[in-house]
Each structure stands twice: as C-alpha cells, then as structure tokens.
C-alpha cells in the first residue's frame, strides 16, 4: 500500500501539491514513484517558466518508461530541486520530501479542484 500524506492535495495524474501562502511545492506521489520503478532522470522546467494547470511541465524517466509531469496549478516556477539533477533516485527514496518544483501560483483557488488524500487514495485503489 502506497503512502498518502493527509495534508497534501493530489492530481489524478499523481502529482502532489502543498500550498503555503501563494507558493506551491510540487512533487510526485508514492504511488507514482512505485509504479514507475527506478527513476533515472527528472526533466525539470527552468526557473521563470510559466506553467498551467493540466499542462505538462517536465517528465520523469524510469527504467520502465518515460512519463509526463502534469502541473496541478498555474503560475511561475520560482525554484527547482537541483539535487534531482544528479540524484533522481531521491524521488524513489522519499517522494514527499524530494519535491520537484516550487511555483508562485497565479490563482490559489485552483487548489480546490484537486483531490484530497481520501479521494486520491480511492483513485490509487482502482
């Protein structure tokens, strides 16, 4: 059973978001890292890039497959997790502390359209 943190919001494409003020921290869920298997590369956006809810902002490549990363919110990328450039496997080790990007959100209400932990758990069970 994969780990789902209570205080996060989730997209059905398996990204998680933590919103603090107008800064959203975004990563992929434990379910996603497990399904992907050993991650060998994380293709991240650049600081200053604009991302939109529902649009891809990068990709995760594992030994099994490459999978698009879909942004759960819209806004401007203010930071990326540079540690993942050399050690993408950190995402496998702990997908919740090893976030991928931070976004200054343009519309905080977008978060309401995302799933809470209980609803996301249901999707993972299916």
């Amino acid at each position: 059973m994969s780990k789902i943190l209570e205080d996060l919001r989730y997209a059905d494409s398996h990204e998680w978001v933590k919103l603090e003020g107008d800064i959203a921290t975004i990563g992929i869920s434990d379910y996603a890292q497990h399904a992907l298997g050993n991650i060998v590369y994380v293709d991240m956006p650049e600081v200053g890039d604009e991302v939109s809810q529902g649009e891809d902002f990068g990709a995760v490549e594992s030994v099994k497959a490459a999978s698009d990363l879909i942004s759960p919110v819209s806004g401007e990328v203010i930071e990326i997790n540079e540690a993942l450039e050399d050690e993408p496997e950190l995402v496998n080790q702990d997908p919740y502390s090893n976030w991928i990007m931070k976004v200054k959100v343009s519309d905080a209400s977008e978060i309401d359209s995302l799933l809470d932990a209980a609803a996301y758990a249901k999707i993972c069970e299916e």
Partner: protein, 489 residues
C-alpha cells in the same frame, strides 16, 4: 565457453599482427600531401591480435547470443518470426550482390525489376497504389510517411494542418516520428479494450488536423472494429490516415489497410516479411500511399517504361531524398524471396496461424496471469502481470525467470495502459510443441511465485550475468573500452 567475457582490446598485445601486407609497389599515391591538420596526432587505439584470436573471440561471443535461431522469442510487437535461410541464399547471389548504385540502369535491370516487383507485391498486399522501398527501417518509414502527409497539405496551400492525432496506446515511435516531422502531437484516449474512443476523437477533428496515426489490430492485439467510421470522420475533416505496419502480420493476405481507408502506411520487412530483426538488422521500412499521394513519394523512384525496361526516376513533386540511393537492397531481396516462397495461397495462412498461436497461449495461461481484455485477440495480447498480486513477484521478475528456462522474455511494461504489462507474440512459425513448452514454463513460474517467490524475485539464476543494475546502466552507461578503463581506475 559460456563464461567468456573478454573485450577484444583486453586480448591485445603490442606488435601482434593478424595480417602481412605485400611490399608496396605503388608509392604513396599522394597520401603524403595530406595536410597535417587533417592527420590524427596519436595513432588509433586498435586491438593488436592474431587471426585465430579474432575468430575465437567472435565465435565465443556469438554463442552467447539469444536469437530466433536458438530459442523461442515471444517479444510482443516485434514479430520475431523465423528467418528462412533461403532468404540469405538469395540475398547472397553475386549477380545482385556486386552491383553498384551508380551503375547505369541499363546494366542493373534485374535489380530494378526486383525492386519494382516487390513494391507491386506490397501494394497488392496493402491495398495501396504504390510503395517506395527507400526508407531504412520502421521509424524511418513513419517519418517518410508523415513527410508525405505534410507535403500533401502544404502543396494544396493548406498550411494550418500541423497536428497529428495519436492514440495514447500507440507505439512510442508514433509521437516521436510526428515530432521529428515537425508536426504537433494530439493524444486521443483509448477505451478499456485499447480501441480508439470515437467520441473522444470527434471534437479533435478540426481544420488543423493533418491526420491520424493508427495501427490495426491495436497495441492490445484487438481489431479496431470501428475503423471504417473513424476513416470516414477523419477524411471528412480533411485529414489523412496513417497505418503503422507494426501489426500487419495477422492481416497478411486477408485484410488490406487501403480497404480500411488508410492513405499512407509503412511496412517493417524485418517483422512481417521475415528478414532479420534486432542487432542492427538492418531493417527496411517501405512506405505505401494511395493514388493521390504517389507523386510525393521520395526520390529516387524505380519506374517501368512501356517497352518493359526499368529506369530510375526523380519526380518534381517528390518530398525529396530520404536515403542514399534505393534503401537497404539486400533486405528487399530477402523479403522478395519470402513472398515468392510462400506464394499467394500460403501467405494467407500467416495471419490465421499467428492469431491461433496467440490465442492458444492466452487461453492456456489466463488462469495464472491477469488478462485485462477478454475476447479473441489477433497476433498478440497483453497480460497485466500475475493474477495473484499478493506474492510480490512482478512482471520484471517473471521475465527474468523465463531466461533461466531458456526462453526470451516477452515485451514488458508496454503498453503503458497497465502497470504490469506483459506482451506476448508467438508468431506463426512456432510449433504447438514449442508453445506447450512455453505454457508449461509460464505455469511453473506462476507456481514458484506462490511457493518460492524469492527464487523468481532473484532470477535469473543460471545466466552468464545475473540481474543487471538497470538504473546505473541508464544513468552511467559504459559504452566503450576507454570508458571501461577509466571506470576500473
């Protein structure tokens, strides 16, 4: 010598030679006039070995290979059928082998006739007007086909059409080829059985659509029963239909892509037409088109005069050259030999036998392996891993365990529609005995997964190398001797 694992550089001894050259009676032929800037500064690092060492080295390496000639190779989506040896005999005929692409067409009539005949045969099989045999492999064929699609729209002045619709279950080469061709990829969803969702397709069809890429049977081995409706919708919207020939094998001589409404397709001679596959092949990816697209086919073209003579032509409306000369000619000879060996009657048995073999394995194993899509499949099908998910044994583990039993693994973790995909394609060339052996082993592995899961999880146990570190291989590949030496230091 199963354990042999040397690189030829490791056998090298300074000064050892496998040749002796005659005394040079021709001078330097002006070689001394080559400017220093074009000469290498240090001698090339080449292995210095005797002839016998070379022979032993490569013979030992070749015995470590697994191929269709050594065992069952049920790699889904790859059509690893037997490559009849008569193909090789024909391709080795000196009269064909010693021709030069620049010689006068008058002196190469036989070769041009073979090219022309093969493209005619493929046109008949595909239900399309004409083929070019120039593309070097499947993905190159896809790119060429999409370039034809683009050229068609541009030549009509319809510059808006820049998008190609690709199902989310498609082979990865489809969106990749579309990107390389400068087109934008739009994904259309699949229904649970892998078929295109027509309702999801409809809203995508506007005047920016260049066409759609499909394969039929689809990636899950199921026939797209709504193909005629899809073709009608796409054509009404002004788009073209591209057929990925990867899954042509079950339809051979029975159903023609042209009759289903496809305008463009490629064929993998190295799949459907029994030419060697993998390890560089080389491949060949002929592209066929409907009559209104013939003029865009790449140059050069082989044509036949009214007097029966063949000539090489360069069309003005052509999208240009996509290959040097006429493609991988040796591969065409093998495919030609295959078609003539089977003949019109027997080629119709390929699909039904490939389909029967796939369904036989599917039905025999679905008690132990999870079959997400019920029903009659075509030449291949997909399991979603073991039925019993409680053992902790994954599809990767099963694939590795099969190696211990002397079988090549199926395609795994593709398609992406399921988490534990295992895609099995036996082809028509396997006997029932071989299929039964494979089925027995698959049952045995499922039993091991329940009773002694560690044995499966730690597999392979008997191969020359055990489970490889795929993560390091992907992140830090060592691809040549220099890198190996540096890594050892």
């Amino acid at each position: 010598m199963k354990t042999y694992d040397k690189l030829i550089f490791e056998l090298s001894k300074p000064g050892r030679k496998g040749y002796s050259l005659p005394k040079n009676g021709y001078g330097t032929n002006g070689l001394s006039a080559i400017p220093d800037t074009l000469l290498r500064e240090t001698p090339a690092d080449l292995p210095e070995v005797s002839e016998l060492e070379v022979v032993r080295h490569f013979t030992n390496l070749s015995s470590k290979n697994f191929g269709v000639d050594t065992g069952f190779y049920p790699l889904g989506s790859c059509t690893m059928k037997y490559n009849p040896k008569i193909n090789e005999e024909i391709a080795a005929l000196p009269a064909f082998n010693n021709i030069h692409p620049l010689q006068d067409a008058e002196t190469a009539q036989g070769s041009l006739e073979l090219y022309w005949n093969l493209q005619k045969m493929l046109s008949n099989i595909a239900g399309l007007a004409e083929f070019t045999l120039n593309p070097y492999a499947g993905a190159h064929g896809e790119l060429t086909g999409l370039m034809v699609m683009r050229q068609y729209h541009i030549s009509r002045g319809d510059h808006k059409r820049t998008k190609v619709i690709v199902p989310n279950s498609a082979h990865g080469t489809n969106p990749a080829s579309a990107m390389v061709a400068g087109l934008e990829v739009i994904e259309v969803k699949s229904k649970p059985n892998g078929s295109i969702d027509v309702e999801d397709l409809k809203p995508l069809l506007d005047d920016t659509i260049a066409g759609i890429m499909m394969t039929n049977p689809n990636t899950l081995g199921m026939f797209e029963t709504e193909i005629l409706d899809i073709a009608k919708l796409v054509h009404e919207a002004g788009g073209l239909l591209y057929y990925d020939g990867a899954n042509l094998n079950p339809l051979l001589g029975k159903v023609r892509p042209g009759d289903m409404g496809f305008d463009i397709m490629h064929i993998n001679l190295h799949k459907t037409f029994s030419t060697p596959h993998g390890g560089g092949g080389p491949g060949s990816g002929p592209v066929g088109v409907a009559s209104h697209l013939v003029k865009y086919l790449p140059n050069p073209r082989v044509k036949k005069n009214v007097d029966g003579k063949f000539y090489v032509d360069f069309g003005e409306d052509s999208l240009g050259n996509i290959s040097t000369f006429l493609g991988n000619f040796g591969v065409m000879m093998k495919a030609y030999a295959y078609i003539l060996t089977l003949g019109k009657e027997n080629i119709k048995n390929v699909g039904p036998l490939a389909t029967l073999n796939a369904n036989y394995i599917k039905e025999s194993l679905k008690d132990d392996y999870l079959l997400p899509i019920e029903g009659v499949c075509k030449h291949e099908f997909v399991f979603d891993g073991l039925k019993d998910k409680s053992t902790g044994v994954t599809t990767l583990n099963v694939a590795k365990r099969l190696l211990d039993y002397g079988f090549h693994a199926p395609t795994i973790y593709f398609p992406l529609l399921f988490h534990e995909s295992m895609m099995i394609e036996p082809t028509e060339t396997e006997s029932k005995d071989t299929l039964d052996e494979f089925i027995d082993v698959m049952h045995k592995v499922a039993k091991e997964a329940r009773e002694t899961p560690d044995e499966v999880i730690n597999a392979p146990l008997t191969t020359i190398v055990r489970k490889l570190d795929e993560t390091t291989a992907a992140k830090n590949p060592i691809l040549n001797y220099k890198a190996l030496k540096a890594n050892k230091k």
